[in-house]
Protein backbone atom coordinates (compact mmCIF):
# COMPACT_ATOMS: atom_id res chain seq x y z
CA UNK A 1 0.00 0.00 0.00
CA UNK A 2 1.42 3.39 -0.94
CA UNK A 3 2.34 5.65 1.97
CA UNK A 4 -0.11 8.50 2.07
CA UNK A 5 1.13 12.07 2.38
CA UNK A 6 -1.47 14.10 4.15
CA UNK A 7 -1.44 17.20 6.30
CA UNK A 8 -4.58 18.39 8.04
CA UNK A 9 -4.97 21.63 9.95
CA UNK A 10 -7.98 22.55 12.03
CA UNK A 11 -9.05 26.14 12.59
CA UNK A 12 -12.11 27.55 14.37
CA UNK A 13 -14.72 29.53 12.47
CA UNK A 14 -16.92 31.70 14.64
CA UNK A 15 -17.56 29.19 17.42
CA UNK A 16 -20.24 27.32 15.51
CA UNK A 17 -18.04 25.58 12.97
CA UNK A 18 -14.52 24.33 12.43
CA UNK A 19 -12.64 24.19 9.18
CA UNK A 20 -10.37 21.27 8.34
CA UNK A 21 -7.79 22.20 5.68
CA UNK A 22 -6.81 19.08 3.74
CA UNK A 23 -3.44 19.08 1.99
CA UNK A 24 -2.08 16.07 0.14
CA UNK A 25 -3.47 12.62 -0.55
CA UNK A 26 -6.46 10.85 0.94
CA UNK A 27 -6.13 7.07 0.75
CA UNK A 28 -7.02 4.15 2.98
CA UNK A 29 -3.85 4.99 4.91
CA UNK A 30 -5.28 8.37 5.95
CA UNK A 31 -7.75 7.09 8.51
CA UNK A 32 -5.82 8.11 11.61
CA UNK A 33 -5.06 11.62 10.34
CA UNK A 34 -8.63 12.21 9.16
CA UNK A 35 -10.30 10.93 12.30
CA UNK A 36 -7.86 12.80 14.52
CA UNK A 37 -8.55 16.05 12.67
CA UNK A 38 -12.28 15.47 12.95
CA UNK A 39 -11.94 14.82 16.65
CA UNK A 40 -10.03 18.09 17.12
CA UNK A 41 -12.58 19.96 15.02
CA UNK A 42 -15.49 18.86 17.21
CA UNK A 43 -13.66 18.89 20.55
CA UNK A 44 -15.28 22.13 21.78
CA UNK A 45 -18.82 21.06 21.04
CA UNK A 46 -18.77 22.37 17.50
CA UNK A 47 -21.59 20.79 15.47
CA UNK A 48 -20.55 21.74 11.94
CA UNK A 49 -17.29 20.65 10.33
CA UNK A 50 -16.29 22.20 7.03
CA UNK A 51 -13.79 20.27 4.92
CA UNK A 52 -11.55 22.41 2.73
CA UNK A 53 -10.57 20.28 -0.25
CA UNK A 54 -8.64 22.97 -2.14
CA UNK A 55 -5.32 21.33 -1.19
CA UNK A 56 -6.39 17.81 -2.12
CA UNK A 57 -3.92 16.34 -4.58
CA UNK A 58 -4.94 12.71 -4.87
CA UNK A 59 -7.76 10.46 -3.70
CA UNK A 60 -8.39 6.79 -4.37
CA UNK A 61 -11.38 4.57 -3.57
CA UNK A 62 -9.95 3.86 -0.12
CA UNK A 63 -10.08 7.59 0.55
CA UNK A 64 -13.70 7.78 -0.54
CA UNK A 65 -14.45 4.94 1.86
CA UNK A 66 -12.98 7.02 4.67
CA UNK A 67 -15.26 9.92 3.80
CA UNK A 68 -18.24 7.57 4.21
CA UNK A 69 -16.93 6.46 7.59
CA UNK A 70 -16.57 10.12 8.54
CA UNK A 71 -20.14 10.81 7.44
CA UNK A 72 -21.44 7.95 9.56
CA UNK A 73 -19.54 9.33 12.56
CA UNK A 74 -20.96 12.81 11.95
CA UNK A 75 -24.52 11.49 11.64
CA UNK A 76 -24.16 9.40 14.78
CA UNK A 77 -22.96 12.46 16.72
CA UNK A 78 -25.65 14.65 15.13
CA UNK A 79 -23.04 16.85 13.46
CA UNK A 80 -23.02 18.27 9.95
CA UNK A 81 -20.33 17.87 7.35
CA UNK A 82 -19.88 20.51 4.65
CA UNK A 83 -17.27 20.89 1.93
CA UNK A 84 -15.75 23.55 -0.31
CA UNK A 85 -12.73 24.00 -2.55
CA UNK A 86 -13.44 20.95 -4.69
CA UNK A 87 -12.09 21.00 -8.22
CA UNK A 88 -14.45 19.86 -10.96
CA UNK A 89 -12.69 16.51 -10.90
CA UNK A 90 -13.27 15.83 -7.20
CA UNK A 91 -16.76 17.29 -7.34
CA UNK A 92 -17.51 14.77 -10.08
CA UNK A 93 -16.13 11.94 -7.94
CA UNK A 94 -18.39 12.88 -5.04
CA UNK A 95 -21.31 12.92 -7.47
CA UNK A 96 -20.34 9.58 -8.99
CA UNK A 97 -20.12 7.95 -5.57
CA UNK A 98 -23.27 9.80 -4.46
CA UNK A 99 -21.55 11.22 -1.42
CA UNK A 100 -22.73 14.63 -2.59
CA UNK A 101 -26.19 13.63 -1.36
CA UNK A 102 -24.88 13.55 2.20
CA UNK A 103 -22.26 16.33 2.26
CA UNK A 104 -23.25 19.90 1.47
CA UNK A 105 -20.88 21.17 -1.23
CA UNK A 106 -20.13 24.87 -1.64
CA UNK A 107 -17.99 26.96 -3.95
CA UNK A 108 -16.20 28.98 -1.30
CA UNK A 109 -15.38 29.08 2.40
CA UNK A 110 -17.73 32.05 2.81
CA UNK A 111 -20.64 30.15 1.26
CA UNK A 112 -19.97 27.08 3.42
CA UNK A 113 -19.76 29.13 6.62
CA UNK A 114 -22.93 31.00 5.70
CA UNK A 115 -24.68 27.62 5.31
CA UNK A 116 -23.29 26.58 8.66
CA UNK A 117 -24.65 29.74 10.24
CA UNK A 118 -21.13 30.70 11.28
CA UNK A 119 -20.46 33.77 9.20
Amino acid sequence: MTEATLNMEVRPAGGKASIVDIRGDITSGSEEALMDAYGRATADGVRVVVLNFSGLEYMNSGGIGLLVTLLVRANRQRERLLAFGLTDHYRQILELTRIDEAIGMYDSEEDALAAAGAS
Binding site: T2, Y58, N60, H89, Y90, Q92, T97
Partner: protein, 275 residues
Protein backbone atom coordinates in the same frame (compact mmCIF):
# COMPACT_ATOMS: atom_id res chain seq x y z
CA UNK B 1 -1.61 -17.19 -18.03
CA UNK B 2 -4.40 -18.19 -20.35
CA UNK B 3 -7.93 -16.91 -20.51
CA UNK B 4 -10.64 -19.45 -19.79
CA UNK B 5 -12.58 -20.48 -22.92
CA UNK B 6 -15.92 -19.42 -21.49
CA UNK B 7 -14.69 -15.84 -21.29
CA UNK B 8 -13.46 -15.60 -24.83
CA UNK B 9 -17.04 -15.27 -26.04
CA UNK B 10 -17.46 -12.25 -23.86
CA UNK B 11 -14.93 -10.22 -25.78
CA UNK B 12 -16.11 -6.80 -26.71
CA UNK B 13 -19.68 -7.51 -25.77
CA UNK B 14 -19.91 -5.44 -22.62
CA UNK B 15 -20.08 -1.76 -23.30
CA UNK B 16 -18.74 0.86 -21.01
CA UNK B 17 -21.29 3.02 -19.25
CA UNK B 18 -21.96 6.18 -21.15
CA UNK B 19 -20.78 9.35 -19.42
CA UNK B 20 -23.28 12.16 -19.04
CA UNK B 21 -21.02 14.58 -20.81
CA UNK B 22 -18.03 14.15 -23.04
CA UNK B 23 -15.85 16.44 -20.97
CA UNK B 24 -12.38 14.98 -20.36
CA UNK B 25 -11.14 14.60 -16.83
CA UNK B 26 -8.91 17.37 -15.56
CA UNK B 27 -5.37 16.53 -16.64
CA UNK B 28 -3.81 17.98 -13.51
CA UNK B 29 -5.30 15.41 -11.12
CA UNK B 30 -2.93 12.47 -10.61
CA UNK B 31 -5.87 10.13 -10.09
CA UNK B 32 -7.94 11.37 -13.04
CA UNK B 33 -7.46 8.26 -15.19
CA UNK B 34 -8.39 5.96 -12.31
CA UNK B 35 -11.95 7.18 -11.82
CA UNK B 36 -14.98 6.49 -13.97
CA UNK B 37 -16.77 9.48 -15.36
CA UNK B 38 -20.04 10.44 -13.74
CA UNK B 39 -23.04 8.57 -15.12
CA UNK B 40 -26.79 8.85 -14.73
CA UNK B 41 -27.75 5.24 -15.47
CA UNK B 42 -26.03 2.01 -16.47
CA UNK B 43 -25.94 0.78 -20.01
CA UNK B 44 -25.13 -2.83 -20.89
CA UNK B 45 -24.14 -3.96 -24.34
CA UNK B 46 -24.60 -7.42 -25.74
CA UNK B 47 -23.92 -10.31 -23.41
CA UNK B 48 -23.33 -13.98 -24.17
CA UNK B 49 -26.48 -15.93 -25.00
CA UNK B 50 -26.31 -18.03 -21.84
CA UNK B 51 -26.28 -14.95 -19.61
CA UNK B 52 -29.42 -13.67 -17.93
CA UNK B 53 -29.14 -9.95 -18.48
CA UNK B 54 -31.69 -8.36 -16.21
CA UNK B 55 -31.80 -5.72 -13.47
CA UNK B 56 -28.83 -3.70 -14.75
CA UNK B 57 -29.85 -1.70 -17.82
CA UNK B 58 -31.09 1.76 -16.89
CA UNK B 59 -30.39 1.33 -13.19
CA UNK B 60 -28.59 3.96 -11.12
CA UNK B 61 -25.55 3.02 -9.09
CA UNK B 62 -25.66 3.04 -5.32
CA UNK B 63 -23.16 3.76 -2.60
CA UNK B 64 -23.38 2.65 1.01
CA UNK B 65 -25.18 5.89 1.85
CA UNK B 66 -28.14 4.88 -0.34
CA UNK B 67 -28.79 1.46 1.20
CA UNK B 68 -31.33 0.41 3.82
CA UNK B 69 -29.72 -1.88 6.38
CA UNK B 70 -26.93 -1.68 8.90
CA UNK B 71 -23.61 -0.61 7.40
CA UNK B 72 -20.91 -3.24 7.43
CA UNK B 73 -17.25 -3.21 6.53
CA UNK B 74 -16.12 -6.72 5.71
CA UNK B 75 -12.45 -7.37 5.03
CA UNK B 76 -11.10 -10.62 3.64
CA UNK B 77 -7.34 -11.10 3.36
CA UNK B 78 -4.91 -13.77 2.33
CA UNK B 79 -1.13 -13.71 2.52
CA UNK B 80 0.89 -15.03 -0.40
CA UNK B 81 3.53 -16.68 1.76
CA UNK B 82 6.83 -16.90 -0.05
CA UNK B 83 5.42 -16.05 -3.48
CA UNK B 84 7.77 -13.89 -5.53
CA UNK B 85 5.09 -11.66 -6.96
CA UNK B 86 4.52 -7.95 -6.71
CA UNK B 87 1.13 -6.41 -5.82
CA UNK B 88 0.88 -4.83 -9.28
CA UNK B 89 1.34 -8.25 -10.93
CA UNK B 90 -1.41 -9.75 -8.80
CA UNK B 91 -3.83 -6.94 -9.56
CA UNK B 92 -3.05 -7.13 -13.29
CA UNK B 93 -3.92 -10.86 -13.30
CA UNK B 94 -6.97 -10.33 -11.09
CA UNK B 95 -8.33 -7.66 -13.42
CA UNK B 96 -7.61 -9.66 -16.54
CA UNK B 97 -9.20 -12.93 -15.39
CA UNK B 98 -11.59 -11.63 -12.79
CA UNK B 99 -14.50 -13.99 -13.42
CA UNK B 100 -12.31 -17.08 -13.58
CA UNK B 101 -11.49 -16.71 -9.88
CA UNK B 102 -15.12 -16.84 -8.79
CA UNK B 103 -16.55 -19.92 -7.07
CA UNK B 104 -18.30 -22.43 -9.33
CA UNK B 105 -21.84 -21.80 -10.60
CA UNK B 106 -21.43 -18.02 -10.45
CA UNK B 107 -20.69 -16.00 -13.56
CA UNK B 108 -19.18 -12.61 -14.20
CA UNK B 109 -19.91 -11.38 -17.70
CA UNK B 110 -17.40 -8.58 -17.99
CA UNK B 111 -15.04 -7.32 -20.66
CA UNK B 112 -12.34 -9.75 -21.74
CA UNK B 113 -9.87 -6.90 -21.86
CA UNK B 114 -9.92 -6.57 -18.08
CA UNK B 115 -11.37 -4.18 -15.55
CA UNK B 116 -11.35 -0.51 -16.48
CA UNK B 117 -13.06 2.50 -14.91
CA UNK B 118 -16.57 2.86 -16.34
CA UNK B 119 -17.01 -0.81 -17.23
CA UNK B 120 -20.36 -2.44 -16.61
CA UNK B 121 -20.65 -6.18 -16.06
CA UNK B 122 -23.57 -8.55 -15.64
CA UNK B 123 -23.50 -11.04 -12.77
CA UNK B 124 -25.41 -14.33 -12.61
CA UNK B 125 -25.23 -15.71 -9.08
CA UNK B 126 -26.60 -19.02 -7.83
CA UNK B 127 -29.01 -18.53 -4.94
CA UNK B 128 -30.78 -21.02 -2.67
CA UNK B 129 -33.29 -23.10 -4.62
CA UNK B 130 -30.95 -22.93 -7.62
CA UNK B 131 -32.47 -19.61 -8.65
CA UNK B 132 -30.11 -17.53 -10.77
CA UNK B 133 -29.88 -13.99 -9.48
CA UNK B 134 -29.17 -11.54 -12.26
CA UNK B 135 -27.59 -8.26 -11.25
CA UNK B 136 -24.49 -6.26 -12.14
CA UNK B 137 -21.64 -4.02 -11.11
CA UNK B 138 -20.06 -0.77 -12.25
CA UNK B 139 -16.30 -0.22 -12.07
CA UNK B 140 -15.96 3.13 -10.32
CA UNK B 141 -12.20 3.06 -9.75
CA UNK B 142 -9.15 1.13 -10.93
CA UNK B 143 -5.41 1.66 -10.56
CA UNK B 144 -2.37 -0.63 -10.55
CA UNK B 145 -2.88 -1.79 -6.98
CA UNK B 146 -6.66 -1.80 -6.55
CA UNK B 147 -10.04 -1.61 -8.22
CA UNK B 148 -13.52 -0.88 -6.88
CA UNK B 149 -17.03 -1.87 -7.92
CA UNK B 150 -20.31 -0.11 -7.18
CA UNK B 151 -23.61 -1.94 -7.12
CA UNK B 152 -26.74 -0.97 -9.06
CA UNK B 153 -30.25 -0.41 -7.72
CA UNK B 154 -31.83 -3.77 -6.93
CA UNK B 155 -28.59 -5.48 -5.90
CA UNK B 156 -28.78 -7.30 -2.54
CA UNK B 157 -26.60 -4.62 -1.07
CA UNK B 158 -25.77 -1.01 -1.80
CA UNK B 159 -22.08 -0.33 -1.62
CA UNK B 160 -18.58 -0.77 -2.86
CA UNK B 161 -16.24 -3.71 -3.15
CA UNK B 162 -12.54 -2.91 -3.30
CA UNK B 163 -9.99 -5.47 -4.44
CA UNK B 164 -6.40 -4.64 -3.59
CA UNK B 165 -2.92 -6.04 -3.14
CA UNK B 166 -0.13 -4.63 -1.01
CA UNK B 167 3.08 -5.61 0.73
CA UNK B 168 3.10 -6.51 4.40
CA UNK B 169 6.17 -7.77 6.23
CA UNK B 170 7.81 -8.92 3.05
CA UNK B 171 4.82 -10.77 1.59
CA UNK B 172 2.15 -9.71 -0.85
CA UNK B 173 -1.33 -9.55 0.67
CA UNK B 174 -4.57 -9.86 -1.29
CA UNK B 175 -7.61 -8.12 0.08
CA UNK B 176 -11.31 -7.82 -0.66
CA UNK B 177 -13.08 -5.12 1.30
CA UNK B 178 -16.83 -4.61 1.16
CA UNK B 179 -18.50 -1.45 2.49
CA UNK B 180 -22.22 -2.06 2.30
CA UNK B 181 -25.76 -1.79 3.54
CA UNK B 182 -28.50 -4.23 2.56
CA UNK B 183 -30.37 -2.60 -0.30
CA UNK B 184 -33.88 -3.10 1.11
CA UNK B 185 -35.71 -4.69 4.07
CA UNK B 186 -36.02 -8.09 2.42
CA UNK B 187 -32.31 -8.16 1.63
CA UNK B 188 -31.57 -7.16 5.23
CA UNK B 189 -33.40 -10.26 6.43
CA UNK B 190 -31.84 -12.38 3.70
CA UNK B 191 -28.34 -11.24 4.59
CA UNK B 192 -28.90 -12.03 8.26
CA UNK B 193 -30.31 -15.48 7.55
CA UNK B 194 -28.09 -16.56 4.69
CA UNK B 195 -26.42 -13.79 2.75
CA UNK B 196 -23.62 -12.66 5.06
CA UNK B 197 -22.38 -16.21 5.53
CA UNK B 198 -22.69 -16.91 1.80
CA UNK B 199 -20.77 -13.75 0.99
CA UNK B 200 -18.01 -14.69 3.40
CA UNK B 201 -17.67 -18.10 1.77
CA UNK B 202 -17.77 -16.51 -1.70
CA UNK B 203 -14.92 -14.05 -1.16
CA UNK B 204 -12.83 -16.45 0.90
CA UNK B 205 -13.01 -18.96 -1.95
CA UNK B 206 -12.21 -16.24 -4.48
CA UNK B 207 -9.09 -15.30 -2.52
CA UNK B 208 -8.04 -18.97 -2.34
CA UNK B 209 -8.45 -19.19 -6.10
CA UNK B 210 -6.35 -16.08 -6.74
CA UNK B 211 -3.67 -17.31 -4.32
CA UNK B 212 -3.65 -20.68 -6.04
CA UNK B 213 -2.89 -18.93 -9.33
CA UNK B 214 0.37 -17.81 -7.72
CA UNK B 215 1.15 -21.22 -6.27
CA UNK B 216 0.03 -20.51 -2.73
CA UNK B 217 -2.47 -22.48 -0.68
CA UNK B 218 -4.18 -19.57 0.99
CA UNK B 219 -5.94 -19.43 4.33
CA UNK B 220 -8.05 -16.25 4.23
CA UNK B 221 -8.82 -14.27 7.35
CA UNK B 222 -12.06 -12.34 7.79
CA UNK B 223 -12.81 -9.20 9.76
CA UNK B 224 -16.34 -7.84 10.05
CA UNK B 225 -17.11 -4.43 11.56
CA UNK B 226 -20.55 -2.90 11.93
CA UNK B 227 -19.90 0.72 10.96
CA UNK B 228 -23.45 1.91 11.55
CA UNK B 229 -26.12 -0.06 13.41
CA UNK B 230 -28.95 2.16 12.28
CA UNK B 231 -31.25 1.24 9.44
CA UNK B 232 -32.28 3.92 6.97
CA UNK B 233 -36.02 3.41 6.83
CA UNK B 234 -36.44 6.16 4.27
CA UNK B 235 -34.66 3.77 1.88
CA UNK B 236 -37.14 0.91 2.42
CA UNK B 237 -38.70 1.70 -0.94
CA UNK B 238 -35.55 0.39 -2.64
CA UNK B 239 -37.36 -2.95 -2.60
CA UNK B 240 -39.21 -1.95 -5.76
CA UNK B 241 -35.96 -2.52 -7.65
CA UNK B 242 -35.13 -5.83 -5.93
CA UNK B 243 -33.15 -8.06 -8.27
CA UNK B 244 -33.88 -10.99 -5.95
CA UNK B 245 -37.65 -10.61 -6.38
CA UNK B 246 -37.36 -9.93 -10.10
CA UNK B 247 -35.00 -12.84 -10.68
CA UNK B 248 -37.32 -15.13 -8.70
CA UNK B 249 -40.31 -14.05 -10.77
CA UNK B 250 -38.29 -14.51 -13.95
CA UNK B 251 -37.34 -18.04 -12.88
CA UNK B 252 -40.94 -18.83 -11.95
CA UNK B 253 -42.06 -17.70 -15.39
CA UNK B 254 -39.66 -20.04 -17.21
CA UNK B 255 -42.25 -22.83 -17.81
CA UNK B 256 -44.73 -20.34 -19.25
CA UNK B 257 -42.07 -18.84 -21.52
CA UNK B 258 -41.19 -22.35 -22.67
CA UNK B 259 -44.83 -23.12 -23.49
CA UNK B 260 -45.25 -19.79 -25.25
CA UNK B 261 -42.06 -20.43 -27.21
CA UNK B 262 -43.31 -23.88 -28.23
CA UNK B 263 -46.62 -22.46 -29.44
CA UNK B 264 -44.81 -19.88 -31.55
CA UNK B 265 -42.69 -22.63 -33.08
CA UNK B 266 -45.81 -24.74 -33.75
CA UNK B 267 -47.55 -21.77 -35.36
CA UNK B 268 -44.51 -21.14 -37.53
CA UNK B 269 -44.41 -24.78 -38.59
CA UNK B 270 -48.13 -24.74 -39.48
CA UNK B 271 -47.72 -21.61 -41.60
CA UNK B 272 -44.62 -22.83 -43.36
CA UNK B 273 -46.26 -25.25 -45.87
CA UNK B 274 -48.72 -22.66 -47.11
CA UNK B 275 -46.04 -20.01 -47.54
Amino acid sequence: MTTPPDQTEQAEVIERAQPDEAQPAEPTARDAANWAQSISTLSVGEVPQEAINRNVEGKRVLGPMQGFGKMWQKTYRVRLYGADVRPTEVIAAWKRDFGSFWPEKNHFYGPLTGIEPGDVAVLNLTMPGRVKLSTGIFVMYADDESFTFMTPEGHMFAGWITFSAFELAGDTMLQVQVLMRAGDPMSEVGLAVYGHKAEDVFWQQTLRNVAERFGVEGDPETQVVCVDRRRQWRRAGNIRHSATIRSGLYAAGAPFRMIAGGRKKDAGAERAPSA
